[in-house]
């Protein structure tokens, strides 16, 4: 498929169907974008499994860190790649050896790997490239507008509060 633009429905289906996300390239540095994203996704109720060989066996934001995708002892719905475009190739290859297979390969902002995308799609996975799941969640929920962002959506339905019940947390509208 064409990866220059994604419909709201495509992104929304992914963010509403996945529950367990392996975040490859997780960082313990609190100012790194990968830390921001991991914290945000945890707050939105996803199970996030950090992958970082240098931190294997330690905990990050209360989650056990693994050295590689193959070490994760449970099914992974989505692999979120916080590495460069070249590294996304072997990470996708490894993801495609998992049993059960993940449903989604997601490459972060500025990460593109057409070859890896084609392989994953051939195996029946959905692929997103050059996007951030935190930003996309923010756009779909409407939180993005709180920082002046153009959300890409208009609707006459009221915004949905997040199921956590937190006052300032918006959720994704039920399908």
């Amino acid at each position: 498929m064409d990866h220059t633009t994604y419909s709201n429905a495509y992104i929304s289906d992914i963010l509403q169907s996945v529950k367990t996300i392996a975040l490859v390239g997780a960082s313990a540095k609190e100012v790194r974008p990968s830390y921001f994203v991991m914290k945000y996704l945890l707050d939105k109720g996803y199970k996030v499994i950090p992958i970082n060989p240098g931190m294997a066996g330690k905990e990050l934001l209360g989650q056990m860190v693994y050295a590689s995708l193959s070490d994760v002892p449970e099914p992974i719905d989505m692999v979120d790649i916080f590495r460069n475009s070249d590294a996304a190739g072997p990470i996708t290859d490894e993801a495609l050896t998992l049993d059960p297979l993940p449903k989604v390969i997601w490459m972060q902002l500025s990460v593109h790997n057409e070859e890896a995308a084609a392989k994953a799609e051939k195996a029946g996975l959905k692929v997103v490239m050059d996007r951030c799941p935190k930003m996309e969640y923010g756009k779909l929920s409407g939180e993005w507008a709180r920082v002046g962002g153009s959300t890409g959506n208009i609707s006459s339905k009221k915004q949905s509060m997040h199921e956590s019940g937190k006052m300032q947390s918006l959720g994704l509208a039920p399908k």
């Binding site: 100012v31 914290k39 709180r146 153009s150 890409g152 208009i154 300032q168």
Partner: protein, 425 residues
């Protein structure tokens, strides 16, 4: 359906403005509050570290203001926006994000007189140096670029001269120099001109003018085009380098194509403080819903008034880019095909005295220092907005002693013409 599929008027009414999640209120509520309760300590920490999209304090963000920002960003085709107390405040925040003491930027001489003052005088206190160039001579802009130049600033339709600038040609100069082009789009509004389509990187507005339309509320806005690489050469350290006031976060790395807007908010609004009031944001939102309807009438009336003036014996010249006699007619056809706005100038054969006589003699037009109201407005710049400038600067800015500026409203055009007719005498 994504926003790109909707028409301008649908966006003007709906973009950013979903029904309120707490009450279901259909109109955007006025969130007249200074602060917001945190869910818990962890949430508060996330907000202060910029990890979460939420509300902290109205100096930095406010839900009514957020609707305004999201709507203007959508109409301009930008990625994000930051509303401010006034258009001048928007300019301050833009340059605060881009310039260090000792840095320079280029601005065209044909600008709103208030901006000329701000750039020449107040900005000096920050150590920011403006280099003036001629908007009609793009090579003079290129010639003004030095290794300290960090941006180029122009107006799409220049105030008050009825000029339309060649945004694409100037954007080429900016691209070549590796610096952003800032376009003030106040007099055009996104209904008449879309600067991001012509190579602009940042857009500013005084919302007080046509976007609000009613002349009752002050406001400004910065729109981020999301189309400039702030990280490539360390030229913009506030965006690309670790920020010690946020635990060494790098704003461009973290916020990508909305990083400029975020910088103006979390450093500019936070530290300089020119926040828009929630009530003003609401008033401006109300006006914006009818933006295209008003602009169509503004342009239709203005064309008729300009043509009438051009045919009047006591009028020496009319500077309106909608007239075939204007040197900017072709640029107007390209950049503002729906009409080059409603602000223009004309010169009276009787000079300074004749100008004073007209502004004194009007009964329907209002003699005041504003533009972009539903009411028709008139001013004599040489004795008011441009009086701080030298006569030479006045002429260079298109505001000589014989010159009168009009901002044509949406009244019945025959009444506007009749009033001018009796005042010119």
């Amino acid at each position: 359906m994504s926003e790109q599929d909707y028409g301008f008027d649908t966006l003007a009414i709906h973009a950013g403005a979903q029904p309120d999640p707490a009450t279901g209120a259909r109109a955007t509520p006025i969130y007249q509050t200074t602060a917001y309760v945190f869910d818990d300590a962890d949430h508060a920490a996330d907000l202060f570290a910029l990890r979460s999209f939420g509300n902290i304090y109205t100096r930095i963000m406010n839900p009514t203001q957020a609707v305004l920002e999201s709507k203007v960003a959508a109409l301009e085709g930008g990625t994000a926006a930051v509303a401010t107390a006034s258009g001048h405040a928007a300019q301050l925040l833009v340059f605060h994000a881009l310039l260090n003491p000792g840095d320079e930027f280029i601005a065209t001489r044909q600008l709103y007189g208030g901006s000329i003052n701000q750039f020449n005088h107040s900005f000096k206190s920050f150590g920011w140096k403006v280099a003036w160039a001629d908007a009609d001579d793009v090579s003079s802009i290129a010639a003004a670029v030095t290794d300290k130049t960090k941006a180029i600033f122009i107006e799409s339709i220049a105030n008050p001269g009825g000029r339309v600038n060649d945004i694409e040609a100037i954007s080429e100069v900016a691209k070549k120099a590796g610096i952003p082009l800032i376009v003030d789009n106040t007099l055009a509004t996104p209904w008449l001109c879309k600067p991001f389509d012509h190579g602009a990187n940042i857009i500013t507005h005084s919302l007080t003018k046509f976007i609000a339309g009613h002349g009752n509320s002050m406001g400004g806005i910065i729109v981020d085009g999301g189309n400039f690489d702030w990280g490539k050469d360390g030229k913009y350290p506030m965006l690309s380098e670790p920020n010690s006031s946020y635990n060494d976060i790098k704003l461009y790395e973290t916020f990508g194509n909305i990083a400029f807007a975020i910088t103006c908010r979390v450093l500019g609004l936070r530290d300089l403080g020119p926040a828009i009031s929630p009530t003003n944001a609401f008033n401006i939102l109300t006006g914006m819903e009818t933006l295209s309807l008003r602009m169509e009438r503004h342009c239709e009336n203005t064309q008729k008034v300009a043509e009438w003036l051009e045919a009047n014996d006591k009028v020496e010249y009319v500077n309106y880019a909608g007239l075939k006699s204007s040197p900017y007619y072709d640029l107007a056809q390209k950049y503002t095909p729906r009409g080059p706005g409603a602000v223009f100038t004309f010169g009276l054969k009787g000079g300074y005295e004749a100008g004073v006589k007209v502004v004194s003699g009007v009964n329907l037009l209002s003699h005041l220092a504003n533009v972009g109201d539903t009411r028709s407005l008139i001013i004599h710049p040489a004795s008011t907005t441009h009086s701080q400038l030298t006569p030479e600067q006045q002429s260079k800015a298109g505001a000589g002693p014989e010159l009168v500026r009009l901002s044509i409203g949406i009244e019945n055009v025959d009444d506007i013409i009749a009033d001018l007719d009796q005042a010119i005498g």
